[in-house]
Point group: C2
Chain length 142, copies 2
Amino acid sequence: MSFFDPLKKALRKEGLRYTQQRQAVWDELRATDDHRDAEEIYLALRNSGFKVSRATVYRTIDVLVKNNLVRKLKLGDGHARFEHKVDSAHHDHLICAQCGKIEEFVDDVIETRQNKIVEELGSKLIRHIHQLFVICKECQTA
Amino acid sequence: MSFFDPLKKALRKEGLRYTQQRQAVWDELRATDDHRDAEEIYLALRNSGFKVSRATVYRTIDVLVKNNLVRKLKLGDGHARFEHKVDSAHHDHLICAQCGKIEEFVDDVIETRQNKIVEELGSKLIRHIHQLFVICKECQTA
DNA sequence: TATTTTATTGAGATTGAGTCTCAGAAAATA
DNA sequence: TATTTTCTGAGACTCAATCTCAATAAAATA
């Protein structure tokens, strides 16, 4: 709500208005550290009694992603998932193919090699996707 | 066409029949080393005079992917791309975000670190996706 | 080979995530 | 308050991919 509120800052930058709906979507995204899809965010808001449309949820998330407040994850199951980036450094994901659990990982060696590969080709790295699909410890013993 | 023909082998394994359509889709996939989507494969077949439906193209590709003859790539643009795996070792992809050009890379150090990360969590690696989105050399100077 | 059985095919319907439209609502501005 | 501009929501629409089911082709059998 402060002057440094990242939502308001992003909206100002984009020349967009501050609205109840946009605040609500942003609040809902920060409510958990899960990786939820747009429908889950939409339903969470509806179930909490807040009236909002799917269109607005999608539109708001787009703005948040564009302004680096939210990360969009495509894990190949046909619907994008989102995680807020508050207090969250860069990381990649490790997904259990059986139970769907998502863990995060970072590896400096990998990051360095990645940069080297790109550099040697004379290219400029924009972003990367690194996803490890596994059977997690629990699913193996179960 | 031989006894070791990988298509026939895969079909046998799956308990499926050998048909002209399945042969044609497999032939078309091997015709280039590009990363084409289902529609491009479909159109290439139609343009060469072969009558086949989209449904059959999709269904056949599924069998080929399942049997490790074709690799399915999701690059985030909403339609999967495919590449045959004949004489092709494991590799990951580097995609120019501007011109769409796709290059391949492998890095043993990255592969090793990947395995280590998974191992330390007690998980078992099934598959991975590693995509580097870049601006390629040509697009930078252009 | 002819016949029967079973799987495959194709045209088009359907699905589902995501986007678009546009009239009414809400916010900014005068 | 009046006027202008942006935002919202309901539902239509898009598009890749999947499904349906009658017709067809392949395999099995006689």
